[in-house]
């Protein structure tokens, strides 16, 4: 079926909804809402709303549509590309749409599912799932829900929601709108793979209920959206082929595609996702391992060996380059307690961080395949750190996140002398066969330019985060030029300009590096079909520096 109809919701008097009017009041009392983790700020905007439920949200959105006022939607403001930073008009924060709505078991898919509002935080979701405690559901138990809850609690298995975009204070809605991914995408895929249904408020002011597996594009590559007032909107799917890497640049497009996938990862350009149904997976005990090797090249060799050996199933593979380890060593020398790990071995020239299934109760675990592969790559399991207790897994994760935090700290120091300076960070991914090519390019160009940098990130997906710390404005300018070259090269390898951070406002200029004019026009035609007045999230994906309304 490629036709879908939206349904309206009764509005309530707009004056009953709490709102903050005027940029001065917003700036003074709600300064955090002017930006996100990118620290980007744009123009002044006039209204700030915190809808408490869908009815309030629908009322606000319809009012904005009638008055032709632009709207930017915010989740937990943890994005890195300024997606929720308003250009003008109104900011609608979904943080109070944070209820868990339902728990169900799908017999056909043999999986537990949770339905929750967009503002639920991933950290809260994880706590609820681990503790099997859903306080939102429990006060209002219908016999049916009570039965499901008891069934879930009595299930001896532990469960988890696989997407782990590092930032657990992100909102569920934000991660769906951006198709967030992270280290575990290597094994579990991005957020998209775990979404079973969404509810979307369109710019017709009505709701679309989109379960996965119901609405597919027609053989001609088209969907039609009808609304309750008799309007109908044809949508034509773009003709481009997506890169063979994880990707968040541009709208999802594929032959016979599911409508849900058009909205997932569309960065709020096409509608406001209000409710999401996610799938859970049975949890299995894991062991985190940081494997030290002698050099960056040896690390990449090991990545390829581990990836090609089908006997070895790793949840993720993360990289620490030599210069990243050196930065961590410097931190250990300054404050070893803050790092919280033993001294990094002197012989270590790079490291891989991975996680694999491990049952601590087993007396004779068999990891011969892993040992062989590690030895063949010139390394040894004795040169590793490993831990399987919850606190140890958290400690290793903390060690991984120290790197970007340290880069931020270095940049903050440099900003005191050069206020305009900022970090340069890559979010490019390439297909497997170009892992060495892209790494060698990064290393060669940045070392030649004498720019201070570290390499880390999701090497299992050929997705490095190359973070440079320019020392002055001249270095920054040179760095920007080099990073543009990196993006062009990644695309020429069949990769993407944004593997996980999204395009937002900051990377909108890179879209044309990856897509032709025709393809961008095809994306824009979907945007204008669903949002004819371009009111929703202006400036996201498509370049727009000032408000046109």
């Amino acid at each position: 079926m490629h036709e879908i109809t939206s349904t309206p919701m009764d509005e309530i008097p707009i004056e009953t909804i709490h709102q903050i009017n005027g940029f001065d009041a917003i700036k003074e009392n709600y300064p955090d809402y002017l930006t996100d983790e990118s620290k980007l700020t744009m123009g002044a905007f006039d209204f700030l709303f915190f809808p408490q439920n869908e009815s309030e949200l629908a009322t606000i959105v319809n009012e904005m549509i009638r008055k032709k006022i632009c709207m930017t939607v915010a989740g937990a403001r943890t994005g890195l590309v300024g997606g929720c930073v308003p250009l003008c008009g109104a900011l609608i924060s979904l943080e109070n749409l944070n209820k868990t709505l339902d728990l169900s078991y799908s017999e056909s898919a043999d999986e537990w599912r949770i339905k929750a509002q967009a503002g639920v935080l991933l950290s809260d979701l994880a706590t609820m799932i681990t503790g099997k405690c859903f306080s939102d559901l429990e006060p209002d138990l219908s016999p049916e829900t009570q039965k499901k809850l008891i069934h879930f609690k009595n299930d001896p298995g532990r469960y988890f929601y696989p997407p782990d975009p590092t930032e657990m204070s992100a909102s569920l809605g934000g991660t769906v709108a951006t198709n967030a991914s992270g280290a575990r995408t290597y094994h579990y895929g991005p957020t998209r793979d775990w979404i079973r249904g969404i509810r979307v408020l369109t710019m017709a002011g009505e709701f679309l209920e989109i379960p996965r597996g119901k609405y597919f594009s027609s053989p001609g590559g088209q969907f039609t959206v009808y609304d309750s007032k008799g309007g109908h909107t044809p949508i034509r799917i773009p003709e481009y082929t997506l890169p063979r890497t994880k990707n968040t640049a541009g709208f999802y497009a594929a032959p016979h595609m599911d409508l849900i996938d058009l909205f997932i990862g569309s960065e709020g350009a096409l509608g406001i996702i209000t409710t999401i149904e996610i799938a859970l997976l049975p949890w299995e005990p894991k062991c985190s391992v940081i494997q030290f090797v002698s050099s960056d090249d040896k690390a990449l060799h090991l990545v390829k060996s581990l990836r090609s050996d089908k006997r070895i199933q790793l949840d993720f593979m993360e990289f620490y380059s030599q210069n990243a380890l050196n930065l961590l060593r410097k931190m250990q020398a300054e404050d070893s307690r803050m790092v919280g790990m033993p001294p990094i071995p002197e012989s270590a020239g790079a490291a891989l961080f991975f996680e694999l299934g491990f049952d601590p109760e087993m007396d004779t675990p068999d990891y011969r395949a892993l040992e062989e592969t590690i030895n063949t790559a010139g390394a040894s399991l004795t040169d590793s750190w490993a831990g399987y207790e919850t606190r140890e897994i958290s400690r290793f994760k903390h060690f991984r996140h120290l790197l970007p935090e340290k880069v931020t700290q270095v940049i903050s120091e440099r900003k005191k002398i050069h206020p305009e300076i900022h970090r340069l960070s890559s979010d490019l991914a390439v297909p497997d066969e170009h892992l060495d090519d892209i790494w060698n390019l990064y290393k060669e160009r940045l070392n030649l330019a004498n720019i201070e940098w570290v390499g880390f990130g999701h090497v299992g997906n050929n997705h490095f985060h190359i973070s440079s710390m320019p020392r002055d404005m001249e270095e920054l300018a040179r760095g920007i030029k080099i990073y543009t070259e990196f993006a062009e090269k990644a695309v020429s390898y069949g990769g993407t300009v944004s593997a996980e951070h999204g395009i937002g406002k900051i990377k909108a200029k890179y879209l044309k590096t990856m897509y032709s004019k025709d393809h961008i026009a095809q994306m824009k035609s979907i945007k204008t079909a669903l949002d004819p007045d371009l009111l929703l999230n202006p400036g996201n994906i498509f370049t727009q520096e000032t408000c046109t309304k």
């Binding site: 494997q291 990891y367 040894s380 490993a386 399987y388 207790e389 606190r391």
Partner: protein, 272 residues
Amino acid sequence: MNIVVAIKQVPEISNVQVNPETGTLIRQGVSSILNPFCEYALDHAVRLKALCPDIRITTVSMGPPQARSALMRTLELGADRAVLVCDRKFAGADTWVTALTLAEAIRCTVPDFHLIFVGKQAIDGDTAQVGPEMAEILHLPQISYGTACEITGNNKKIRVQRETESGYQILETRLPALVSFSKGENIRRAPSFADILSSRKKPIDLIRAQDLNIADQELGLSGSFTQVVKIFPPLLKENGPLLSGLSPQETTATIIKLLNTIDVLEKKEGSL
């Protein structure tokens, strides 16, 4: 040289809550770990072993069968052998009976020990009693709150840096001796994956009540001088009044007025 490290398995305390109605710990979803202070004690034993490879480290724990996983952790971190002291007859033991049982288990399993290392306290009970009580039972000199140590006197003495409220002391005692350890500058070790795999081949011996020279009535609850009657969280205090938007003079006057109403200020002639 034989070093025994007495260890305890504890719930990962940052997650533990008390059920206010039953007064018991809510353990669902709470993992059990090797008590961090015991891990620091083991770390000092492993450091000594690195300097003197002849040292043999045995870890001993009294607890339920699940405590095996804490002992496994000690093997991963460098212990050579582990002993689990486990019997239903040990249930309900207070600190004294725990110390008595552990001391006897050490006498039975490592009769020629030179040192006993313990953590200064367990993070669940926080009593800090079992280590010192073991030293008394075994007639050993003891040094508490150690943060560093070295073997001296031709392997006949141990010199320990210990924390005090105002700084550090360096104490030395003859062997055999017992030392309890604080955190100090210690950062927990991370075993290699090879250590984790090979530790599963190391022995964990089991000691039962019948293996010890202690009468049944002296074990567990029946031998205990003390008993935990109830565990309860401290009463939550209501937040006090918060003054804001006042000048320093107004704030001071308001605070004095509030204090006067509850009559806690010393009255002097001519005072406010």
